[in-house]
């Protein structure tokens, strides 16, 4: 049913267009070239590059706090991609049709790819992937708390695509214009794939919502469970957000948590109507004055609890990751030993050649 049995073509609410615009802006900035060079005052030059909407590149001088902020943010994003494979991976072997199985498997594989590009982007800041993975496994770096909720039914594959990938896109599209070049470029690539994920999720939900009564009920139940956790993906309200002001000044972040959350709600309302599903918020209504929907805020106390480790699946997700890492240790050791043996053989062969 890739065809025309649902109407909205760009279900990402025009966000894909914004990704393309960011890509064009990135190309134009690169063509303009940066003025001048770092010279004697690298801090002033850094400020100039940011002010001119140019990109900071790995070899440039940058404030240590800028570097640390980026490492924290990119690592958290990479970890989210990797941990985020688990809730969806949970349904691959039970997908209800072979086509859906193939799409889901490819999607989870994409997420692994996103994790890898992001670790590579973080590595340009002078930290290794192994170090970052160790920080994750030691519980010293976080991943998105949304992945600490369980996927209980097949409909969750639809809802995660629609709402979770959808919220991720709303969050990430502005990052395509982030001041740090490698991150901005990774985000452009990732956002394009996320928009496919979002569309696939929407298709799953559309099919369920127009299917048997049991399928419909499964879809509605799923949206009921994921709506508020998805709203919480944008982080605490602006009044409590600690990192925002500095990140905005550095053009790492471009919109506040609440602005992005509002944009997401406004995007979802119409889509829910097309799906024929109800967003579980009796207070949801259009506000003419604001030109936006009024809605009930997610339970931020719950968000904090989940971030601190008390979500339904925190322990399970971390243990799953640790187990894979632990059980793979002998394989990685073997690959390293084999590579060392091969390198040694090559060296011996070339020495023999020299002697002969």
């Amino acid at each position: 049913m890739y065809g025309n049995d649902f109407p909205a073509d760009d279900t990402s609410g025009g966000l894909l267009g914004e990704v393309e615009a960011a890509e064009t802006a990135l190309r134009e900035a690169a063509e303009r070239g940066r003025h001048g060079a770092a010279g004697a005052d690298p801090a002033a030059y850094f400020a100039e590059v940011i002010a001119a909407d140019q990109k900071v590149e790995p070899r440039d001088w940058m404030p240590e706090a800028y570097r640390a902020t980026l490492i924290r943010q990119i690592a958290q994003h990479a970890h989210s991609e990797i941990i985020g494979m688990q809730p969806e991976g949970n349904w691959i072997t039970r997908a209800p049709s072979l086509k859906r199985k193939a799409i889901l498997l490819a999607k989870v594989q994409d997420e692994a790819g996103h994790g890898l590009y992001l670790y590579a982007a973080a590595e340009t800041l002078g930290i290794s992937r192994d170090e970052l993975v160790d920080l994750l496994l030691a519980g010293r770096q976080k991943y998105s708390s949304i992945f600490n909720y369980p996927t209980l039914t097949w409909a969750d594959m639809g809802t995660i695509g629609w709402l979770v990938d959808g919220a991720a896109i709303v969050n990430q599209v502005p990052l395509c214009r982030c001041s740090y070049g490698p991150y901005a470029r990774a985000m452009i690539r990732i956002c394009k794939e996320e928009s496919f994920h979002q569309r696939q999720g929407y298709e799953i939900l559309y099919t369920l919502a127009h299917g048997t009564p049991a399928q419909r009920e499964m879809a509605q139940d799923s949206v009921n469970r994921w709506w508020y956790p998805s709203l919480a993906m944008f982080g605490p309200p602006d009044t409590d957000s600690t990192h925002s002001a500095q990140s905005m000044a550095w053009k790492i972040k471009r919109f506040s948590n609440d602005e992005l959350r509002q944009r997401f709600v406004d995007m979802c309302v119409g889509q829910a109507e097309v799906l024929g599903l109800t967003l579980p918020d009796p207070a949801l209504r259009w506000n003419d004055e604001r030109g936006a929907y009024d809605f009930t805020q997610p339970d931020y106390a719950e968000l904090i609890r989940v971030i601190k480790g008390a979500g339904p699946c925190n322990r399970q997700r971390m243990e799953h990751r640790r187990q894979a890492h632990r059980e793979g240790a002998w394989v990685r050791a073997a690959a390293a030993a084999y590579a060392a043996k091969q390198a040694h053989k090559k060296e011996q062969a070339s020495q023999k050649e020299k002697v002969a």
Partner: protein, 262 residues
């Protein structure tokens, strides 16, 4: 559920050497399809559990290739049968006694070495099989073979690289890899059970398989075990105990909603 009137009855323990009933084209295509489907399901079970992140991606890729081949083959099998069964009807609504995959594909994943041994043997069989199919008289099978052989060549390459690394890596990896080869090897014989009426007689693929596998095992400092045990029966629907569990997981949701579309 349909009855299994075509089954050979209790006590019909199959061995690779025993003569088989002449299978029709439907059974032959179904055998290939089920090998691919069951292999895809097993590989998909690795997703999020790989020893490194790159390997998660590689195993998912191979699973996707196998699933893609399975879908083409099941669709074709359904057309050959002419009873209106599509890929999903064949994948989700048959019981284990109606599956025609080789036992090798359905064996549990075990550790990474066991999975690589399974992949090596399956790919070393599928490469010459699909290559031969690409030149066979059946146009549909020829097209599927031409596509799938390239994918299988990658699977073979991937498995060979890992078998060499593990075989010639550390003491532990060598021990695990040899144990995996020993465990899986007996199941390779079934793959080559003669069938002169098939579009490609599996017996003709043996020489190619033997030479490829011998080369990889030698480079990996491993030995092919001597064994007289040749378990078989998959092609006739007599499986190991593992298949029914694999299918239970694969089919549970589809069967819980009869007639629904997804």
């Amino acid at each position: 559920m349909t009855a299994h009137a075509e089954m050979t009855g209790p006590g019909a323990v199959q061995t690779a050497a025993a003569p088989m009933a002449v299978p029709n084209r439907f059974d032959f295509v179904l055998g290939l399809a089920d090998d691919a489907l069951v292999a895809a399901q097993r590989l998909a079970q690795w997703c999020t559990r790989g020893p490194e992140m790159e390997e998660d991606i590689a195993l998912s890729n191979i699973a996707l290739d196998q699933l893609g081949a399975a879908r083409l083959l099941l669709t074709y099998a359904g057309e050959v049968e002419g009873a209106g069964r599509d890929e999903d009807a064949l994948a989700y609504l048959r019981d284990d006694r109606e599956f025609r995959n080789c036992l090798l594909a359905e064996l549990p994943n075990g550790d990474f070495a066991l999975t690589m041994a399974k992949l090596l043997f399956l790919a070393a069989y599928q490469v010459p099989l699909y290559t031969a199919l690409a030149d066979c008289g059946d146009e549909r099978l020829a097209a599927i073979g031409a596509k799938a052989r390239k994918e299988s060549a990658y699977h073979l390459d991937h498995a060979s690289v890992w078998v060499r690394r593990l075989g010639d890596g550390t003491d532990e990896s060598h021990r695990r890899m040899q144990a995996a080869v020993d465990e899986v090897w007996p199941y390779t014989h079934e793959l080559f059970t003669p069938d002169p009426t098939a579009p490609v007689d599996p017996a003709t693929l043996r020489a190619d398989f033997d030479s490829v596998v011998a080369g990889v095992l030698a480079e990996a400092t491993l030995t092919a075990p001597e064994t007289s045990w040749m378990p078989a029966g998959g092609r006739n629907g007599v499986h190991t105990e593992h298949l029914s569990y694999l299918l239970a997981e694969l089919q549970v949701l589809h069967r819980a909603h009869p007639g629904a579309s997804w």
